[in-house]
């Protein structure tokens, strides 16, 4: 650090939806010359805790690895265990899981949509995003018994079937969201401030996608058509009709476009799921969960979270607890590897929109 540089901590509070994390930067004037990501005392030892818990006891835990989008964790861990234990789950369970995953993606993207505006000081959409997301949380409450932590996807399927008339209520909320979206677009996408600030911001060199292993909307905004739902389909995704969304501006604006289009896609997928969902059982019989032992083995299961490829590496050793669980959250590369390099040369005022554009969920960096 030279005398002309100032060291500054930005965060952990900021108007946006990056979660509890901060960046330490060196500034020369308004320009960043160096950046480090700090996630503070966020480490809660999830992975280690799981090694000491019988499998079922980890379900109320894994969902907490990403607060706003817990279901990916539940689904991945459940699918991993099912694979290792050789449990076939009923067809309907796969569809219900997919519905949950898409509802989860949708509410996360809506919140993010408000959040990106918030990162530029536009606080109205933040309130909207949180308000409208709540109607989806109402659906979760009705379906799972919890608004935030659902603990609904379990090995073998899901914990309960859809309540009476649930499908219609989902469709109603979808219609409502669809009606609202043009209003969001008006104040975000069609806003001169947003366009001016995001277009060309945080330009990612294309080769970084491969080098760093970028995934999700970040990679798709760089023109890489990679989507786990399409490339390694799981649950009911093989039966759904959709195209992978890409943009090729490689900048914050393209990431915004991808995520905005993902909202439309999720609504479409949710409608498809409701139309095509088969009847039948929703939970396969499990062994006695108090004493459930899984034969030795290892697996890596992955899915598409709103942030990108999400994965669970699970090792079992024949006992009633996992030998090792490693959670691979996309925020690790996006929020550390990528962010630290991307910030160099940027203006201090753009730190917040860049952080939000990369859409981080800090607990998945330090599990």
């Amino acid at each position: 650090m030279s005398k002309e540089e100032v060291r500054l901590f930005i965060g952990p509070q900021h108007p946006g939806v990056t979660g509890n994390m901060s960046v330490e930067v060196l500034l020369r004037g308004d320009t960043i010359t160096w950046a480090r990501t700090h996630i503070g005392y966020l480490h809660r030892g999830f992975e280690k805790l799981m090694e000491r818990k019988i499998f079922i006891k980890s379900f109320p835990l894994v969902c907490r690895i990403c607060v706003p989008e817990p279901d990916t964790n539940e689904e991945n861990f459940a699918r991993g265990l099912e694979e290792l234990a050789g449990i076939e789950i009923p067809e309907r369970a796969k569809w219900i899981r997919t519905l949950v995953l898409e509802l989860s993606r949708l509410q996360m993207f809506i919140m993010w949509y408000g959040g990106i505006a918030g990162s530029m000081g536009l606080s109205t959409p933040v309130q909207w995003g949180i308000g409208d997301r709540d109607y989806i949380l109402d659906l979760f409450e009705e379906l799972t018994g919890g608004r935030i932590y659902h603990i609904y996807i379990m090995p073998g399927g899901v914990r309960k079937d859809l309540p009476e008339g649930f499908e219609e209520r989902v469709l109603k909320v979808m219609d409502m969201v669809e009606r609202r979206l043009p209003e969001y677009d008006e104040i975000i996408m069609e806003n001169a401030v947003v366009q001016k600030r995001l277009k060309g911001l945080a330009k990612i060199p294309k080769e970084w996608v491969d080098e760093m292993g970028l995934t999700g909307p970040v990679a798709r905004a760089c023109g890489f058509p990679y989507d786990v739902r399409k490339d390694h389909p799981y649950e009911a995704y093989p039966h759904l009709d959709f195209d992978v969304i890409t943009e090729d501006g490689c900048d914050a604006w393209s990431m915004l476009l991808v995520r905005r289009r993902e909202i439309d896609l999720s609504i479409d997928l949710i409608r498809q799921i409701i139309e095509k969902m088969p009847r039948g059982e929703f939970l396969a019989p499990l062994p006695n969960v108090l004493y459930w032992k899984i034969p030795p083995g290892e697996t890596y299961v992955k899915s598409e979270s709103t942030r990108g490829e999400y994965g669970f590496y699970v090792v079992t050793d024949g006992s009633d607890k996992p030998r090792r669980v490693h959670v691979n959250g996309p925020s690790f590369v996006h929020g550390i590897t990528l962010l630290e390099r991307l910030l160099v040369g940027q203006n201090i005022a753009d730190v917040a929109p860049i952080m939000v554009s990369l859409q981080t969920c800090p607990p998945e960096m330090e599990r």
Binding site: T124, E186, P285, Y291
Partner: protein, 591 residues
């Protein structure tokens, strides 16, 4: 980009005219969803304190605590779950695991108090005001973690059964046994139901994980007749199983049978630890399950043991009474041989009379009396001495010892207990037409319901409310039972209705044999008079203390002769308890 993009965001003002997303709490109440996971409630009457909720709780939020007004009893630990809401994460795993479905959650989520202590409480006991709320997360029985359905046991079809004395129950296959064993939640409430306090959850869990030898070793820690119990035990434990409240209890008996039957040579499986030889000796009268259990554990503790048995084979009533289609001879032999291999001396055809008893008193440092109940109760009606009136235990003993028995084409068995069912089903196998005549109603019969069903499937007819009046001779070598009918007279709440003879009516039944199966009594004529005087009895049975010692120091007793619960496992438990008693007696502790 132009002026449009500058003006467009002003559209947000439209929102001003709309209703807000938010509501004013508490002015506007908001009820949570039907299956919301809110504060718990527990039906304390239904809860049995099994602790499954505490075992599954990922946050150790549940402590099992004693509750005023709820006493521990068989099948109920007396504890109730107390939840610490500083730890609870509202996952509801406890609800999904509760075998009785007593625990559920309400959809109540607002509850404000000043002190944190208010958030540690016993749902259902500490009344919080939302107990009556019907809505909230509940367990769905069909889709819960609890496996309520028992793996069915395969049996020989009835028409095949009556053709021979082949074992009726076919046993579990390995996969079935492991599946059945895996249902056990491990609460251990069954243990209190077992007279012998076997380590049930432990040996069941061992079966579930395929460790059969370990399982059998656990059984042998306090029961050297595990296979016997696996086949014919009265299985009191099963009636305390926590799964039995909403589903089928775990098939504890059949699981024991499965594990023990896998090993044909017990010497290879059971790891015995034998104590150093001691110079005290114990004489045991009667080679029933009680006497042999005492002999086994005394031998393991290094004592010299001699068992005196009047019959030509050991096993007591399990040899002479229980029919072979329930308990085959090779199984008994395998278990007894293993006991004898521990250095137990057995003298067969050795009836202990008063004189011999005195000899034994000189020869041994302690005596255990396990002579069972060898004398049948009689009907006490005129004409009972007719040669065609026989007694179930004599009849069964002859059949079991392959002695010739002649019962003709039609018999009536008088009685309603398990011995009556055995006599009836054995008679069916001897090709007789069988009527069971019982003085109360079928629902009142003390016999195991499985035995009653089995008998009926095999073609046994059951007549209710029959009271024998007298026995008369009948032509062609037959015998006539003259009987009346009973009416059931209510005896007030909590008491069985009493059968009372309807006067003035008489009916007749002509059969080849009348088999009397109304119970057995002790025959204590082998005791020398002076000893008999000092040994207290109670309603025909020898009185013993909590260590099985009679009022005559050094003389112990157990099993049917002392225990009103006359079944094999009680006899085994008595035998085991007596070992401890005898050891303490040797150490000088008289009481």
């Amino acid at each position: 980009m132009g002026l449009k993009e500058v003006l467009k965001p002003l559209g947000a003002w439209r929102q001003i005219a709309r209703k807000p997303h938010t509501i004013l709490v508490p002015r506007t109440p908001r009820e949570a969803a039907e299956r919301y996971r809110g504060f718990h409630v527990n039906d304390l009457e239904k809860c049995i304190g099994c602790g499954t909720c505490a075992a599954v709780c990922p946050n150790e939020a549940i402590d099992m605590v004693p509750v005023e007004g709820i006493e521990p009893r068989k099948g109920d630990s007396g504890f109730r779950p107390r939840i610490d809401y500083g730890r609870c994460c509202w996952c509801g795993l406890c609800v999904d695991s509760c075998p009785t479905t007593s625990l559920r959650m309400t959809n109540e989520y607002i509850w404000v108090r000043e002190t944190p202590d208010d958030f540690v409480y016993i749902p259902g006991y500490d009344i919080k005001g939302f107990e009556e709320k019907e809505k909230g997360y509940r367990k769905e029985k069909d889709h819960s973690f609890t496996h309520y359905q028992r793996v069915p046991m395969r049996e020989l079809p009835p028409e095949e059964r009556v053709e021979s004395f082949a074992e009726v129950v076919l046993g579990y296959a390995e996969e079935e046994a492991r599946r059945e064993a895996d249902r056990c939640v491990g609460c251990g409430l069954c243990i209190a139901g077992c007279p012998d306090r076997m380590h049930i959850p432990d040996y069941i869990r061992a079966i579930a994980s395929g460790e059969y030898a370990r399982s059998v070793n656990i059984m042998y820690e306090n029961n050297p007749f595990a296979e016997l119990c696996g086949k014919v035990c009265t299985r009191r434990c099963e009636s305390y199983c926590s799964l039995g409240h909403e589903g089928d209890p775990v098939a504890i008996r059949w699981l024991k049978r499965f594990a023990t039957e896998r090993f044909s040579d017990l010497k290879e499986v059971i790891k015995v630890r034998k104590a150093e030889a001691k110079d005290r000796s114990v004489g045991i009268i009667g080679a029933g399950p009680g006497g042999l259990t005492a002999a086994y554990y005394l031998a393991l503790r290094g004592y010299k043991v001699t068992v005196y048995e009047a019959m030509p084979e050991p096993g007591g009533m399990t040899m002479a009474g229980i029919p072979k289609y329930r308990f085959p001879f090779p199984s008994l032999k395998k278990q007894v041989d293993f006991i004898l291999s521990q250095g137990v001396e057995l003298k067969l055809n050795y009836y202990v009379d008063p004189e011999k008893f005195r000899e034994l008193m000189d020869r041994h440092d302690a005596i255990y009396i396990g002579v069972g109940l060898m004398k049948p109760w009689t009907l006490g009606v005129p004409g009972e001495d007719h040669p065609n009136v026989i007694y179930a235990i004599d009849f069964l003993r002859k059949v079991n010892f392959n002695e010739p028995v002649e019962i003709g084409k039609k018999v009536v068995v008088i009685g309603g207990g398990d011995v009556a069912m055995d006599a009836a089903r054995v008679s069916r196998r001897l090709k007789a037409e069988v009527i069971v005549a019982y003085r109360r109603r079928k629902v009142d019969m003390p016999a195991d319901h499985e035995e009653i069903e089995g008998a009926e499937e095999e073609g046994v007819e059951i007549w209710e409310k029959i009271i024998p009046i007298r026995v008369e001779d009948a032509p062609e070598g037959k015998v006539k039972l003259v009987y009346g009918k009973a009416k059931m007279v209510d005896q007030g709440p909590g008491r069985r209705p009493k059968p009372v003879l309807i006067e003035g009516e008489e009916y007749e039944l002509v059969v080849d044999r009348i088999i009397v199966a109304i119970g057995q009594q002790a025959d204590l004529s082998f005791l020398p008079e002076d000893v008999a005087e000092k040994i207290e009895t109670e309603r025909g049975r020898i009185k013993v203390n909590h260590r099985q010692m009679t009022s005559y120091p050094g003389i112990f007793a157990g099993g049917d002769v002392a225990n009103r619960v006359a079944d094999a496992i009680s006899a085994i438990a008595d035998g085991l308890r007596a070992v401890k008693g005898i050891e303490l007696y040797f150490q000088g502790e008289v009481d």
